[in-house]
């Protein structure tokens, strides 16, 4: 057996093992994000606990993947607030996370645990720790480059902790292997002059493994979302509604 065949065989066996370990469809309900539009994008109809999600910025850092991730996290945290606590842990490497913006997205700062890691090793360690903790409901971090072993460790940590890990990543990682159960490609759309807020095109990429990946055959499709600038509501736009040709327009 050649080296490639061995690797392929091992990968297949691993995938089968993962699928056996994954819960049967419908047994473990997902948790809604509080935004029906966003839930309709997610393969499981919401967020599955004990899994990782990748939010990939399609163009550049300003594409808004983290904004969508926070909207989803906020919904989950608010649902947890009915219980004893709901906590979002943000593991930040460069100290630029701006909590005032998170508050604008409906996430109360008192629900945020901000962890600032100086070095890359500390950051990896810190993410694993918060994923492993059952006291944290959602973990958000920025991870452009990630070693496969570290990624796997994080996935196992998320399974153990039972929270949801959200990784905001750049488009360069699309071709890399992933241990996330769902990968979402987020591209900012140029809004019409009359648009009331920010628009995104979101595509679910296939290829996740582990718990929550039981809908691996999920159809890839682009979904248009719009965040209302005034109400903070997220709505699904008809698929045919396209971006306008670029020109300069002023609002507000």
């Amino acid at each position: 057996m050649s080296r490639q065949d061995t690797i392929k065989d091992l990968a297949d066996r691993l995938r089968r093992m993962e699928r056996r370990a994954a819960p049967a469809a419908g047994r473990e309900p997902s948790i809604g994000t509080g935004h029906a539009a966003l839930d309709s994008v997610l393969p499981a109809g919401g967020l599955r606990q004990g899994t990782l999600l990748e939010w990939i910025n399609g163009e550049g850092p300003g594409s808004g993947a983290a904004t969508l991730a926070l909207l989803a996290a906020g919904g989950l945290i608010r649902q947890q607030e009915s219980g004893p606590a709901g906590t979002l842990a943000v593991v930040d490497r460069d100290g630029g996370f701006y909590a005032a913006a998170a508050a604008g997205l409906g996430l109360s700062p008192e629900r945020i645990l901000l962890v600032q890691a100086g070095s890359e090793d500390e950051w990896k360690w810190a993410v694993e720790q918060v994923l492993r903790s059952s006291a944290v409901d959602v973990v958000l971090t920025w991870a452009d480059s990630l070693d496969d072993r570290v990624f796997r460790r994080w996935q196992l940590a998320a399974e153990l902790g039972g929270g949801v890990g959200m990784l905001v990543r750049s488009a360069e990682v699309v071709r890399e292997a992933s241990w996330a159960s769902v990968r979402l490609m987020v591209r900012g759309c140029v809004g019409e002059e009359s648009a009331t807020g920010r628009r995104w095109s979101v595509r679910v990429l296939s290829g996740g493994v582990g718990r929550g990946a039981w809908r691996a055959g999920y159809q890839e499709r682009d979904v248009l979302l719009e965040l209302n600038d005034e109400t903070g509501g997220l709505r699904l736009l008809p698929r045919l509604e396209r971006a306008v040709p670029p020109g300069v327009s002023a609002t507000g």
Partner: protein
């Protein structure tokens, strides 16, 4: 003078300050850290136990009233009750001289005064500085406090600054002059608080001292026959000491808020200084493995010094546990409450302890929104460990929501540490941007919102005057730009990630 005022005065003649980095060239502004001062003072206070077991840091507030603008509350003084201790040093003057030598030898500028009350001692020690007395201990003989006090300036009474100003305007500069005024008049004009402060200074009010607690020391120490430099050996010795301290806590039925590890090297034998680090806990504990895990996480961040001759681990903040042991064997889940909320609280505390031990206390925080105009000042990060150790759990996020709600997409998720200057093309000089360069790429603006003017006075926040724009580029990305009004330069301040 408050720092903000001092800064404004110092910057004033130079010119109107603008953006950070350009303002205050050549001026180093160091913010006072009262908590750090208090920590140092507490440490020095513990050294004071050599002279008397009753050493206090800050004076007690007036019952039912916070000590507003009280000079006595500044973290700069130690108050000690030396009743019955003088004869150990010859007499009270001998004791005062020994105190002066102790702290002068440690590099502090110290004035020591002995009087019949804490207020009089504080006043005499401070007034000696204002009146230029030599740096010798001053001892007021028994019953002669008031005679001393009468000769002192009115500042010695630790009155409110506005009262001192008003009295000086009335040409009342000495305590003697103030005591000559009718009490009713003083009360009518300056309030009852002033009368209370006079009584406090003259020892007419029995001032209680909140003394530093004398701990029942839980300390483990190893002295090596030969200096050791091997990290693994030292790590093993440290582990044994931590376990020993945990056993000590178990025996006493106590838990500790922090462990202090001290290392003495051969080099520091001559000068008896310890290298010290503190491992703080969010919830007090005595669980040996847990304590060792935190200490070892912290030790990973440090390099062991060469030639270690002594290691010491002590438990501090030793308290009676909130909930004593309720079953005969409580293994692993010490004090764990049966409720889900209790488990979560404990889980969060453990997480914060681990993160703080490895990354440092300031690296684990909760954001608190503030009523600030300048975006950089709108969020304050409060270390979770510190917040929790004061009021376990419940204080989290106090002040949240203090800032005005700004809408879902008016502020960027990533605020750059300092605004970055960019090249921008605009159709009109004071108009919106139509193109800008960022990270080596030209970006065309297709939509924008603004300008949103953010401006402060020249005396505050370095004098900010900015016109902000949210811009959408032709790739669908959003950035937060501003034009500085002083010189019309453009900056990127945030990314709507």
């Amino acid at each position: 003078m408050p720092l903000a005022e001092a800064r404004a005065v110092l910057l004033g003649p130079v010119g109107v300050p603008t953006e950070a980095g350009e303002a205050g060239e050549g001026l180093e502004v160091v913010e006072a850290d009262e908590e750090a001062d208090l920590r140092v003072l507490a440490e020095e206070g513990r050294r004071g136990w050599r002279f008397t077991p009753l050493v206090s840091l800050t004076p007690a507030a007036r019952p039912g009233q916070p000590p507003a603008q009280d000079p006595r509350s500044r973290p700069e003084s130690l108050l000690a009750n030396i009743t019955g201790c003088g004869h150990l040093f010859g007499d009270e003057r001998g004791l005062a001289t020994a105190m002066q030598q102790e702290w002068s030898g440690r590099g502090f500028a110290v004035r020591v005064a002995v009087a019949g009350s804490p207020g009089a001692a504080w006043a005499i020690a401070h007034a000696a500085h204002w009146t230029g007395q030599p740096w010798i201990p001053l001892v007021a003989s028994e019953g002669r406090d008031e005679l001393w006090m009468r000769r002192l300036p009115i500042e010695a009474l630790a009155l409110q600054p506005r009262v001192v100003r008003a009295l000086r305007e009335l040409d009342v500069v000495q305590v003697e002059g103030l005591l000559g005024l009718p009490l009713a008049e003083i009360k009518r004009r300056f309030g009852e608080e002033t009368l209370w402060r006079i009584d406090r200074a003259l020892g007419r009010w029995q001032e209680p001292l909140e003394c530093l607690p004398m701990p029942d020391p839980v300390v483990a120490c190893r002295t090596f026959d030969e200096p050791i430099s091997r990290g693994d050996w030292l790590q093993q010795a440290l582990r044994e000491l931590v376990l020993e301290v945990a056993c000590g806590l178990q025996r006493r039925g106590r838990v500790a808020w922090r462990l202090v590890c001290r290392v003495r090297t051969e080099a520091s034998k001559v000068e008896p200084e310890w290298i010290e680090w503190v491992t703080g806990l969010v919830e007090p504990s005595r669980q040996a493995e847990h304590l060792w895990e935190l200490v070892s996480l912290q030790s990973e961040r440090r390099r062991w010094p060469e030639q270690v001759v002594q290691l010491q681990v002590s438990a501090e903040g030793v308290v009676v546990p909130e909930r004593p042991q309720q079953t005969l064997f409580e293994t692993g889940t010490e004090y764990e409450t049966a409720t889900h909320g209790g488990r979560l609280r404990r889980g969060m505390a453990r997480l914060v302890e681990r993160l703080s031990s490895r990354l440092g206390e300031r690296s684990v925080s909760r954001p608190v929104l503030c009523e600030a105009v300048v975006p950089e000042s709108a969020v304050v990060l409060v270390p979770v460990g510190r917040e929790s150790s004061r009021e376990s759990g419940s204080g989290a996020g106090s002040g949240a929501g203090a800032g005005a709600w700004l809408g879902p997409v008016t502020r960027p998720l990533r605020l750059l540490e300092g605004p970055r200057a960019i090249e921008v093309m605009a159709v009109v000089p004071e108009g919106p941007p139509i193109r800008f360069d960022w990270e080596g790429r030209g970006r065309r603006v297709v939509r924008y919102w603004g300008p949103e003017r953010i401006e402060t006075g020249w005396w505050a926040d370095g004098g900010v005057a900015r016109d902000y724009y949210r811009v959408e580029t032709d790739t669908g990305e959003w950035y937060w730009l501003f034009r500085r009004r002083g010189d019309a330069r453009w900056f990127v301040h945030g990314v709507f990630e």
